[in-house]
């Protein structure tokens, strides 16, 4: 697999310790009676891509959704422990969840653009947060977000057309543009390429690598190759527990835990 060689070269320049952006301490999540996550401790470094891997139902998506408090929208979900963003507890009483979600953007598994125009999709976030003072400002936010998401050249002449008319890969990049339009610091991605074909997937992966310079990225993925290609750090979840976490190169070449090795070599999962 030649991509492995690529990632190794990326790690070579990225091994310097980065400041911690998001820190989870003893995070447990309950859905009603069922405990989905057991005491997770994890540091997510700034301006790096952290991949969460593990078999289905292992709690990696649940953990991801704790970081922007999306679990709040599920009535039966309960979160214990602490998660800090820049050393501030995001579950603290002074945190406004609406503002938090502007700072921690999210991209979902299935591309889910609003059934509105491409422009409106990207403009929606800045508009509800009142970020732009004038129409011109709003337009420049939309343009720069679409540029950063690598979609500008494909859609600049049809901003008024519905976002749902784009191809799957374009829709997902539109969703990334929508997420970064609110100028977030952290970008959460829940299997962003699992519904896409290989070409669209590689476009998204390249985009993730570019976005890393501006954002801290946490990505949930089923594909270990993808984790190896795009991430600098990897955390392996199994049965609701964080089994192992470390630099991606170490996890894939030299896992400490037997479970991790079994998963990476395809024995469980």
């Amino acid at each position: 697999m030649d991509t492995m060689a690529d990632t190794r070269s990326i790690f070579a320049v990225n091994l310097a310790p980065a400041p911690v952006k998001v820190a989870a301490r003893d995070v447990s999540v309950f859905y009603g009676e069922k405990q989905a996550l057991h005491g997770v401790d994890l540091d997510i470094p700034a301006n790096q891509v952290t991949a969460l891997i593990g078999p289905s139902g292992c709690g990696k998506s649940t953990f991801l959704r704790c970081i922007n408090r999306m679990n709040d929208t599920i009535p039966a979900a309960r979160v214990s422990g602490a998660i800090t963003l820049d050393d501030v507890d995001i579950y603290g009483p002074e945190i406004d969840v609406v503002e938090l979600r502007a700072r921690v953007g999210m991209v979902f598994q299935k591309p889910n653009p609003f059934p509105k125009s491409i422009f409106e999709n990207v403009a929606y976030g800045p508009r509800i947060h009142g970020m732009a003072r004038t129409r011109g400002d709003l337009e420049s936010i939309v343009a720069s977000s679409l540029r950063r998401a690598g979609l500008w050249n494909e859609v600049k002449d049809r901003l008024r057309e519905p976002g749902t008319g784009l191809s799957g890969g374009q829709q997902q990049r539109l969703c990334i543009a929508r997420a970064i339009a609110t100028r977030p610091e952290v970008l959460l991605m829940d299997e962003p390429a699992s519904a896409l074909d290989p070409i669209a997937t590689s476009v998204i992966e390249e985009l993730i690598d570019e976005l890393r310079t501006n954002y801290t990225i946490v990505i949930v993925t089923h594909s270990m190759q993808q984790a190896a290609r795009v991430s600098q750090r990897t955390a392996f979840f199994h049965l609701g527990r964080l089994v192992e976490e470390g630099a991606t190169a170490d996890i894939f070449s030299n896992p400490r835990e037997k479970q991790t090795e079994d998963y990476i070599t395809g024995k469980i999962g």
């Binding site: 979902f108 299935k110 889910n112 509800i128 749902t164 929508r178």
Partner: protein
């Protein structure tokens, strides 16, 4: 860890021929099910067809009205051009009838001849002269609706072979009418009175205008009350309320409310709206309020279903960019649910349009010869008008009842058509 997949030796599998027979039986069962379905649909369509055909055949005659052309001498001695409303139009009608039958000299003969015209003729004349006072002193030629028995005769609904003493019209009556036909004075144009006149004791001048306006006013009240309240309730229950015992109780009761017989709502309207609140009886306001109570559960249920049908990914997308709950609902969920909500609402209103029992209890079945001018004036509605006409002894009302049912069905079809059209127009894919 590999399970033992080897077949136990003693299992005797069915022979291929036996399995094939089983498969044939499966296909036969499928065919039977399909045939049963087709039979059921045919039966339903057949009955519906029978109903519509019966209504059309029965109601057809009511869409035309026999009219007699009469020349009325509006003499100055009888009508004062300065005050035409006070004129002696009965005498004018008598003169007109006498002109039709110069050979009739006795008062009895003239009176019998006068019965060819609707008893309302003098009012038709008066209205025409009030509208145009310059007619005084001239001869006014009017096409006057024939009275019901003659209308039936002209439409061939009276069997001339019946013995004279068992008919409403004597041989002399029929002879007089036949003479008018021979003179070319009798015509049968489209019955516009059915749509522009209010109710009347005489079938030939009775119309549905009052009932249609009454129904429209009641539906307006019903919509204005049930649409906002229903949608607000559904949004609260679906998007904001915590799921607990209280919300369960509310949910069960809304579903129960949808199953309450409509006459109970009528009683409630009578006891609460009329007795306690002192609102006027027979008013479209009260009728609409009662219908709103009935429509409310329907609207709540369809709205909740429409909200639930919006994919969760849209909500997540909204929450994901930091929209608050009300923004997610108002900006994303509600617009997507709107086609379903509107369709359900229109179907709920169509149901309310056809509802009779609660209107009977709040008095919207009064006999009224004027079109209601407002929400608090006495009015009837289409279904109660049908009820009234079906109860009337005059033969002309038989066909008019069917015609009124056809009009009501027409409105229902139009409303359901609008619902389908709206859904097609507004439905968006995502």
């Amino acid at each position: 860890m590999t399970p033992d997949v080897a077949e136990p030796a003693e299992v005797a599998l069915r022979a291929p021929a036996e399995i094939a027979a089983l498969r044939r039986r499966r296909y036969a069962a499928e065919r039977r099910l399909r045939l049963a379905g087709i039979a059921a649909i045919s039966l339903a369509l057949g009955l519906l067809g029978l109903l519509v055909v019966t209504l059309v055949v029965g109601g057809w005659p009511a869409f035309t009205q026999t009219k007699v052309r009469v020349d009325f001498p509006v003499e100055r001695a009888l009508v004062d051009p300065a005050d035409p409303a006070a004129g002696n139009f009965r005498k004018v009608v008598q003169l007109g009838v006498a002109g039709l039958f110069p050979e009739a000299t006795t008062p009895q003969e003239l009176r019998a001849a006068g019965k060819i015209l609707t008893p309302g003729t003098q009012f038709l004349l008066r209205n025409a002269v009030i509208a145009d006072p310059s007619l005084v002193g001239r001869t006014l030629t009017l096409k006057v609706p024939a009275a019901d028995p003659y209308d039936q005769l002209a439409k061939g609904l009276v069997d001339r072979a019946t013995p004279e003493d068992r008919r409403r019209l004597s041989d002399a009556d029929i002879a007089r009418f036949d003479r008018l036909v021979a003179e070319g004075r009798v015509s049968r144009p489209f019955n516009t009175a059915l749509f522009v006149n209010p109710d009347s004791r005489f079938p030939e001048t009775a119309g549905l205008a009052g009932a249609m306006v009454g129904s429209a006013l009641a539906l307006l009240v019903c919509f204005a009350l049930s649409f906002p309240v229903g949608i607000a309730t559904a949004i609260y229950l679906e998007e904001f309320a915590r799921k607990n015992r209280t919300s369960d109780v509310i949910e069960v009761n809304i579903n129960n409310l949808a199953a309450v017989p409509s006459i109970v709502f009528g009683l409630l309207g009578l006891a609460v709206f009329i007795q306690t609140f002192g609102l006027p009886r027979s008013a479209p306001l009260v009728g609409g309020m009662v219908l709103a109570l009935m429509t409310l559960p329907t609207i709540i249920i369809v709205t909740r279903n429409a909200l639930r049908a919006v994919p969760p990914s849209i909500r997540e997308a909204g929450f994901g960019v930091g929209a608050s709950r009300h923004q997610v609902v108002l900006h994303h969920v509600l617009p997507l649910a709107l086609p379903g909500i509107l369709t359900g609402t229109i179907i709920g209103l169509a149901q309310a349009l056809g509802e009779t029992a609660p209107l009977l209890l709040v008095g919207m079945n009064a006999f009224l010869t004027s079109t209601p001018g407002g929400l608090t004036e006495a009015a009837t509605a289409l279904p109660t008008q049908i009820f009234l006409w079906a109860d009337s002894p005059e033969r002309g009302f038989v066909s008019r009842t069917s015609a009124a049912i056809l009009v009501l069905l027409g409105f229902l079809i139009v409303m359901n058509g609008v619902a389908v059209l709206l859904r097609r127009r507004l439905e968006r894919t995502w």
